[in-house]
Symmetry: C2
Subunit: 769 residues, 2 copies
């Protein structure tokens, strides 16, 4: 855990340049707009340690590299998130010295990410090897108002000299992935042209043939006027730009305005890319940096109005929650139903692919609570569109008759991850996709989704579970062998409780949903059952399996067992580990992790969170007390569940400790891996921690229930919730909870299980015990 960033309510601030932290900062200060984005790489050249990364949503490479022994059933390819063409470069040489922060004396370095407006700013003074000092202020944003536009204002002042400078301003598609073997490059040039004050490169990805046009135009101002300069065009493979020779005069600032346009063939005809890119550039230049920024900031204002959480009395916590909401918002805007929430967003290339079970298990509630219903529905429809692919995927693994196994990782519905213990065995993802349908309907009341889409998916998943179990004569129960649960620190276990439980739940929920649709609309029911060729003996089998599913438990301790054989382990708390053993995934070999009792994320607790109404509080407490001490939280998805359960159980300090961990996971680099990128999907877990954890919000009886508490250190916290056409604001302080119906019809909620009537713009206050 590192603490080198300044605490601030709305900003992330790095003071002083420490090359050692640079890759971590490049991740944290990343900016994006749902369509594209990039790490906080410098505009200048930088010869120090850096992970260069620009990304375009939906663009990937199907890597077929093979190593070791290929397991039958592996997918065709592993989807690499591609480092995409870069539009940010402004390379500067002064009298043959490059401005390169790795080779200068850097002072007064400040990097700031203003989350309120989505603006990345960097200021510094650099003393070149020959003693020349320049002051630089660089501002950059990726427009939330126009997902294809980015802009930079780069101001440079020669402090103690006058000299000739050469500025190279270009777009560069000659980029490489860090995880590329043999330095293979994944882009090929389609088009390039350098012109006066402008350059465009169109590059295509190998194999997938995505075309991406990357263009730039620029202006250089001195004394508020276009500076006099000499321009040469520079073109080489996948690269085009201008080389500008300009006189720097001591004390006189020059300002480079650079506009970037990034267009993908996902949104434009390939043969129109150049023309459309030109058009986008023209409009951006016409508008200019300031007005582009105003439009951008206005969108951010609207977003913050919708989803901000304020915390009084704890700046670190306030900064943490806003950072999470900021990253989540700039990663996925909910506008494009083909997109999903990549685990690293626009902050890194690691993991590959874009869609994980994270979306359903962690992100959906955030969008349900902060955006219009269609955004969450789009996430569900995304999976409905992939149903046929999920059936094909299951077919490749030997399942039949419409059984669906959704991929562990995907770009387009196909599985694109190839570790057998995950790809083939981490099948609990199927359960989360079923659960999301339930969660969506519970929240929105939109029962019609079942007959329009939901049952198709539920039946496909139920068919999978029914084929995936087998009957154990030894146990006289249905068992599920060879799975990996959400706790990925166990592989290929038998009877993972979470997986068995969610499978049983899916079967029951599907049966119940079928009955409900039948009761509501027999014609709908007949159509669905007919389309799916669903027979009574099939549903009868589901019931038999659900009624006889094996669920491992230890009656002596009164706890659920994570899986068969868990008690054979050497059970000990994390607190007994030496500091140098952590994080385990960097310090211990994989086999040692697997046979230890230590838990990456506690899937028993995950199940108790999902299905809390099935268990009494004592049971939840016994299991929390058993599993929490063994949990190392080396999954970013882990701490939020602990916040929610600890809050429920009244473990306020544990809840707060876990909250800090989830909300400042990347800011404080808890898991030593932020340099690879931020943990985007788990950021929704931070939101959950406040809303479902501290706020104790639940949807029950078709309305909202709150059982709030406030961490000791805080003065107050407040959040805004969209619920069935209404918006309510909730503010919790030490003494009271205030709820205000901001918009929508009056309705009744419950606070600490007591009914409360809300009417428009009235604030209801309730004193907390």
């Amino acid at each position: 855990m590192k603490e080198y960033l300044k605490h601030h309510e709305w900003q992330i601030i790095e003071e002083g340049f420490d090359a050692h932290y640079n890759k971590i900062s490049e991740s944290i200060f990343s900016i994006g707009n749902g369509r594209m984005g990039q790490r906080a790489n410098f505009e200048e050249e930088y010869s120090g340690d850096t992970l260069q990364g620009s990304y375009v949503a939906g663009v990937y490479y199907p890597d077929k590299t093979r190593v070791g022994w290929w397991k039958n059933g592996y997918p065709e390819y592993f989807a690499k998130v591609l480092n995409a063409p870069s539009w940010i470069g402004i390379h500067i040489s002064i009298d043959s010295h490059k401005l390169d922060l790795a080779k200068c004396n850097v002072v007064n370095f400040v990097r700031t990410l203003d989350m309120k407006t989505g603006l990345l700013t960097r200021k510094f003074s650099a003393v070149l090897p020959d003693g020349k000092q320049v002051n630089v202020e660089a501002k950059r944003f990726c427009s939330m108002a126009n997902g294809e536009v980015g802009a930079i204002r780069y101001a440079l002042t020669p402090v103690n000299f006058s000299a000739k400078a050469v500025i190279s301003i270009a777009v560069d598609a000659d980029v490489v992935n860090k995880d590329s073997n043999y330095d293979e490059k994944f882009w090929e040039e389609v088009y390039r042209k350098a012109e006066d004050h402008q350059a465009i490169v169109v590059a295509q990805t190998k194999k997938t043939k995505f075309h991406v046009a990357t263009g730039m135009r620029y202006a250089i101002l001195q004394d508020g006027k276009e500076a006099s300069k000499r321009i040469n065009y520079e073109e080489r493979d996948k690269y085009a730009g201008n080389i500008v020779q300009i006189d720097l005069n001591q004390g006189k600032e020059i300002v480079v305005y650079k506009y970037g346009a990034i267009l993908s063939s996902e949104n434009h005809a390939k043969d129109k890319l150049v023309a459309n890119c030109q058009d986008v550039l023209n409009k951006a230049v016409e508008k200019g940096f300031e007005r582009l920024f105003e439009d951008h900031a206005a969108v951010w204002k609207h977003k913050w109005d919708e989803c901000d959480i304020t915390i009084e009395g704890d700046i670190a916590a306030q900064q943490g929650i806003r950072f999470n909401i900021f990253q989540l918002t700039q990663t996925y805007t909910g506008e494009d139903e083909r997109l999903n929430i990549g685990p690293k967003g626009f902050t890194g290339e690691k993991y590959g692919g874009s869609t994980y079970w994270d979306t359903e298990a962690y992100c959906l509630p955030f969008y349900l609570g902060t955006a219009e219903q269609q955004v969450a529905k789009n996430l569900l429809i995304y999976r409905h569109k992939h149903l046929q692919r999920a059936i094909e995927n299951a077919g490749k693994l030997g399942f039949k008759n419409g059984a669906a196994l959704y991929p562990m990782v995907t770009m387009n519905g196909e599985e694109c991850h190839n570790e057998w213990e995950i790809t083939f065995e981490e099948i609990h993802r199927n359960g989360a996709i079923a659960y999301a349908i339930y969660d969506y309907i519970r929240y929105t009341g939109d029962e019609s989704y079942l007959s329009s889409h939901g049952l198709d998916v539920l039946v496909g998943i139920s068919r999978f579970w029914a084929q995936r179990v087998n009957f154990s004569k030894d146990k006289n129960k249905y068992v599920m062998l060879g799975v990996t649960g959400p706790n990925e620190y166990e592989n290929n276990v038998n009877n993972n409780w979470y997986t068995n439980y969610i499978a049983r739940w899916t079967l029951n929920y599907t049966l119940e949903s079928l009955a409900n649709v039948k009761a509501g609309n027999v014609k709908d029911y007949s159509r669905i059952v007919g389309n799916l060729s669903l027979k009574d003996d099939e549903t009868a089998l589901w019931k038999k399996i659900a009624d006889n599913m094996y669920l491992p438990e230890d009656k002596t301790r009164g706890v659920i067992l994570q899986q068969d054989g868990f008690l054979d382990k050497d059970i000990m708390p994390v607190s007994q580990l030496a500091k140098e053993d952590r994080p385990l995934n960097q310090k211990w070999s994989w086999d040692r992790i697997l046979r230890s009792c230590f838990i990456k994320q506690a899937d028993v607790l995950q199940g108790l969170y999902f299905f809390e109404d099935d268990f009494d509080t004592d049971t939840i407490k016994r299991n929390f007390d058993f599993y929490e001490p063994m949990t190392v939280h080396e999954s970013s998805l882990s701490p939020c569940v602990h916040v929610i359960l600890a809050s429920k159980l009244g473990y306020e300090e544990k809840a707060y400790e876990m909250y800090l961990r989830t909300s400042r996971l990347d800011l404080d680099d808890y898991n030593n891996d932020t340099e690879d990128g931020c943990h985007i999907t788990s950021m929704a877990g931070t939101w959950l921690s406040v809303i479902k954890g501290f706020g104790g919000m639940r949807v029950k009886e078709d309305t909202l229930h709150f059982t709030p508490f406030i961490p000791k250190k805080w003065k107050s916290y407040s959040f805004r919730i969209e619920f069935r056409g209404r918006v309510i604001k909730v503010k919790v302080s030490n003494q009271r909870i205030e709820t205000t119906l901001v918009s929508g019809d009056p309705f009744n909620i419950k606070i600490n299980n007591e009914p409360v009537s809300l009417s428009h713009n009235k604030t209801f206050e309730k004193v907390l015990a």
Copy 2:
């Protein structure tokens, strides 16, 4: 299972050219000499489906390609067996048509491997697209008398035409591995030179910097005299040769004699390679093809005298056993203690690395029984030399204080395999390495090996086991979690019986060996204990663990359990599988294989074979009856154990069925994978099947015991055994067993548990019931 090869006692014969079988034949007809060898690729160019492969013992490439998620603890590299420079090419064009069997009409094609003399012969008539017919007879061998020499006699007759021909004769290091990603090539040129009738190329491997000189000289004879021809030199990167223009006269045979020399920097100073290669070539040419062949055939005669097994009355079985002995003999000669028995020998590149547990578990008895004691001892010393590396390997996985984990696969003692479920978990290999020490001493009586080398290794391995187990409070026993047994169709299981058993056995055997050494020579004992810093509390712990090791069993059925939870599976015999499901590893996805009851090789039975004296026959029978029907034998190492146990149990038909499977595994391509190369190490299992299976040979009470039977179809079988300075011959027929002491002092053996005295050159006959 395919049957396209002719049955013959001493030869492998393929009649007629079927391109579809070509890669399988290339594997089966491979030739080598312990130092080098190659697949039965054609001398001519061949544009059809082929796996080109030449190999040099000990030469590998450390591949660091990465895919997916790297597990902590993985070794630095994966050792690729390298396709090495080729010396066999004789490329022929006649009037602009290439002689390419993929593009000719091929008739009277016969490919023969004479196992008696190690000679590969190929005859055919080819009709070129323009109607010209040539007859070809090509003979090739890799000299067993000089491991650096190979020779070809390639005779070509123009049947119905006269024309100009161009013959390209070269050495070619510009080769690629089939498993190379991005077509990466692993050889770089160091030297090349084409001269009159000669060419030499020296190439080095990337990273590992092995240098290999490959040279060739040739002569072309017509009417017994050097033919008149025009020669041009041809050189390009990593390639050198002559291009010969020659007149072909209708009906007149020309004969190309090509001599190859393959020298590695493992045996020569790098700066002497060219000169020494020249020297080897000169000597080879001087000797000439016929005398080289005589020397070569003489070595084979000696080898066959030592290790032949004859079978009367069953040509398929006779051919099978000889094929196995032939391949095993040409793969490993026992002369170079740095080498070991690669799983594919010189027949393919698959699997990578050279040394597996196969050597100790399957191959050692073959060398004990057929070669002088030093050969088997060299195999043991190979591991002793790697002890420090094994300790380092264990250290990387978190083990301490001299615990040794031998690698799953190695070239030089380092682990070079990276599948976590194998590399980290298939730790039973350690047990086999300990068992080999016991097996060697039991066979040879060489107790001194314990104090000279054995105890070092045994203590290292025992230390590993003691740290690898943990105490289960739940079971009140020591357990071993997260292992993969020899049955690789289970991964990451708890309490694999075989692994737990061999671990317990190792601890006991080490304690017993320490006591024996102490009793025999206290000074030796003190030295060893001192060097190893072995303390009494450590050995006390070993005893405690051995006395309290958990061994899973099912008391109801009276069978051992392969691992915890095995009875949760859907238990069914292989006979219920549909034909299209086989082999499972090509038809089923990995997860389906893992959760099925089907067994790649039955490790419970492997344990009963190793430790048969610990169990009564009824127990062995119950377990055989339980596990055998679930075993798919998709490991080449599987059937031999079943032959041995079935023989012991009197299941004669099962024993014979399994024998055919092991002995003709590659000849009949049982597992659909012979095209990748032959299963060399399992060939020792075929030898075991006859000797320990049908012959019932055991070492007990410091002598040999036999309890023979003969398969119904056979008239007789006979073999020769070296044992403690003696050689005996055994012949078994329907009626009787004949044993002859060929050399060495008289001694007593037991046949069917009755004592028999053998004296020199006397044949003892015993009538069988």
